[in-house]
């Protein structure tokens, strides 16, 4: 017995695929001049050594090392994250590109002896009692790829520690991930403790068992259904949007 699958299902991913390859689409976004073009391509391909090689050439030609972060590395990475947001490339490509870009940033910092100004600071953590951290790893990588400074508190982070970090770091946003229903309860505690301290910072929560209904039960919570929502949310905060506007945008259910 067999079946004609076209009668019972549709592979929408095959149907929707663009005619152009991701490589071709990325190349359309590269600058015309060298070594910028090579740096962009090396970021897209996740080739750390080639990124550094291109940066060396730029610095040798007189470029300011720290300025190269904003002029070459961040826009090169944006080509990658835009293609990911459009559903054209896969997450592992972004991860490898982010690794290459971060290697480039480290190189520029070494060369200049100074640090770049990040777009903003985000504190990331996994809920107390929960050690499942791959979601947080993805969130942190996407935020860094978008130019944000990430204070990564790791996994199984006690409520006290999150609150203390928020007080010390004064982030523009907090992220919390949890896989289990019993551990996500810590998010509510963090919310209450921050409000007691008079801190009103957007707290993006997501992960396995976390849902919008639960996140809506505490004031600072904004539900992040996808990891990719983290940089989008940070961008909105940077653009001056408040808690209610974030909820309007990301609470889709």
């Amino acid at each position: 017995m067999d079946v004609d699958p076209s009668k019972i299902l549709i592979r929408y991913n095959v149907q929707k695929e663009k005619a152009q390859t991701p490589e071709e689409l990325a190349a359309e976004q590269y600058p015309k001049t060298e070594p910028a073009k090579s740096v962009y391509r090396a970021i897209f391909e996740g080739e750390e050594d080639d990124v550094v090689e291109g940066l060396k050439k730029a610095i040798d030609a007189g470029a300011n090392a720290i300025k190269l972060i904003d002029d070459m590395l961040m826009p090169g990475m944006k080509v990658v994250t835009d293609l990911y947001d459009e559903g054209i490339i896969f997450l592992p490509n972004v991860m490898m590109s982010a690794d290459a870009m971060l290697a480039g940033i480290e190189f520029c910092k070494e060369k200049s002896g100074s640090a770049p100004t990040p777009k903003g600071k985000v504190v990331c953590h996994v809920a107390e009692g929960d050690v499942h951290d791959i979601g947080k790893t993805i969130v942190a990588a996407l935020l860094r790829a978008a130019g944000y400074e990430v204070v990564d508190l790791g996994r199984d982070v006690p409520v006290d520690e999150v609150v203390a970090a928020v007080k010390a770091e004064k982030p523009m946003m907090i992220t919390g991930t949890a896989l289990m229903t019993t551990t996500m309860y810590a998010f509510k505690e963090i919310n209450d403790r921050l409000l007691e301290a008079g801190i009103k910072v957007p707290f993006q929560c997501g992960g396995g068992a976390v849902n919008q209904d639960f996140v809506e039960t505490y004031e600072l919570g904004v539900y992040g259904e996808e990891a990719a929502h983290a940089p989008q949310m940070a961008d909105m905060i940077l653009a001056g949007k408040g808690l209610e506007q974030l909820k309007d945008n990301f609470h889709m259910h």
């Binding site: 067999d2 079946v3 299902l9 390859t21 993805i138 199984d156 229903t181 068992a209």
Partner: protein
């Protein structure tokens, strides 16, 4: 317990595999036989978040939900039911909590068994607590505490002992986000297998001492991570061709439990279980369309093809229009089981199996490979290399690539360019792998020790 690697298939041909039937059924003290000619629902549940605050609240929660499930099962006339309690961490970290909850649940189940004759089982699945905040801590005090938990739930009345072990996850989490094929083979096929071989010998010893059944494991922490990251058809987080390679490698790993003394039924979320069943002949639990309360995947009907217990994976205990959530899902699962049992009793079992399999076979590369005929072929590749953990994991990956490449001629499984490219990259990586196990192990050890700060091979795998 001695470890005996599988080098032959339990089933000589794929067509002999069928739901409700296993080569080696198991039987509980309350009369439930799993794999002995019928399918039974296995209901899975999670307590409401705020009940984790104290033992009393948790015990009360499990008392209520167990009573609810049993009451619904007899109200609708189901002949058998299995309950699975996956521990929240408090229950494993405090073995007396898990033990008391098992006792409370078993007492209720026994009362229903005595009054109505309903055949029952209780599975307890302690959480794999072998972690420190920053590192896996697979060996040491946490291991001892975990074994105490198994002893406590067995004393409390659990019929089946299970766990979802996490060996290798520290490397998998790194490798899966980098399309790293050798990393998948190393983390799942080697590290996961080493850990499972160790822990299942001890779980089997406890089960033997307590007169209960060492059931089985699942590669939830790795292959399901890959499956969930891969997501739906339009998600772009991981190529589904890579997710299915992670899955077939995980069959070589999950098999280790049975090699070290487990008897089945395998855990519900082990989507690798059809492959495992083809090799070991053990009964298996599976989840699919009736687990949409817990997650979405692309194999809702197909996974019923060879199941012996049919599960909903997990649902939070709360009210629904039709009763409590556990009652609704107990009924849904049991109705699915009733349909499968009708098919078995009217000689239509294989017809229904093939209909369920075909509904998802071409939906996705994952369904294509887990369809029982292809699953059997992957199992055969594993068994042929059964004595070597690395080579059998590599063989599972290679056979998966071969089957997907061969599907192109038939043209029924459509793959996107992304999936095809990822498959081609995986094939290249697999072809470049050494056939020398020692060399692979030492190369990977050096690579990941330098690249992954949280990888502690000496402490966790006794290297």
């Amino acid at each position: 317990m001695t470890v005996k690697r599988y080098t032959e298939m339990a089933y000589t041909k794929a067509d002999d595999m069928l739901f409700g039937n296993a080569k080696y059924p198991v039987k509980t003290k309350l009369g439930l036989e799993v794999g002995a000619g019928y399918v039974t629902a296995e209901v899975n549940y999670a307590p409401r978040p705020d009940t984790g605050q104290s033992k009393e609240k948790l015990v009360s929660e499990y008392r209520r939900l167990t009573t609810d499930i049993m009451a619904r099962a007899v109200q609708i006339g189901f002949p058998s039911i299995s309950l699975e309690t996956e521990h929240v961490q408090q229950m494993t970290n405090n073995p007396t909590w898990g033990g008391e909850i098992a006792h409370v649940q078993k007492t209720i189940i026994e009362e229903y068994n005595e009054e109505y004759g309903i055949k029952c089982a209780l599975r307890h699945t302690p959480g794999d607590i072998r972690e420190e905040r920053d590192y896996l801590a697979l060996i040491g005090p946490k291991y001892d505490l975990l074994m105490e938990s198994f002893e406590a739930v067995a004393d409390g009345g659990a019929d089946f002992l299970s766990i979802e072990t996490m060996g290798g996850k520290e490397v998998l989490d790194y490798a899966i986000l980098r399309n790293d094929m050798p990393g998948l083979i190393y983390s799942i096929g080697c590290l996961g297998s080493i850990d499972m071989t160790m822990i299942w010998q001890d779980i089997a010893k406890i089960a033997q001492k307590k007169g209960v059944i060492p059931a089985g494991d699942t590669d939830c922490s790795q292959a399901n991570t890959a499956m969930f990251i891969a997501g739906g058809l339009l998600d772009k987080n991981l190529a589904h061709t890579l997710a299915i390679i992670a899955r077939t490698i995980s069959a070589a790993r999950t098999l280790c439990g049975y090699e070290a003394g487990a008897k089945g039924p395998g855990k519900d979320c082990g989507y690798e279980n059809t492959i495992v069943k083809s090799i070991a002949g053990v009964p298996i639990a599976q989840e699919g369309k009736s687990a949409t309360c817990a997650h979405a995947d692309v194999m809702g009907n197909l996974t019923m093809q060879c199941c012996d217990l049919w599960s909903n994976e997990s649902v939070e205990y709360h009210g629904e229009f039709g009763g409590t959530s556990v009652q609704c899902w107990a009924q849904t699962l049991s109705m699915d089981a009733a349909l499968m049992n009708v098919a078995l009793n009217t000689g239509n079992g294989k017809l229904l199996r093939d209909m369920m399999m075909l509904s998802d076979r071409y939906r996705d590369p994952q369904g294509y490979i887990l369809a029982y005929d292809n699953a059997w072929k992957v199992g055969n590749a594993i068994a042929k290399n059964g004595n070597d953990l690395y080579l059998r994991a590599k063989a599972a990956a290679a056979e998966t690539v071969n089957l997907l490449n061969a599907s192109k001629a038939e043209g029924k499984l459509q793959m996107s360019r992304f999936e095809t490219n990822a498959l081609a990259d995986a094939e290249k990586a697999i072809n470049a792998l050494t056939d020398e196990t020692d060399k692979f192990m030492s190369d990977m050890l050096a690579k990941y020790k330098s690249e992954i700060a949280v990888f502690k091979p000496e402490e966790n795998y006794k290297f």
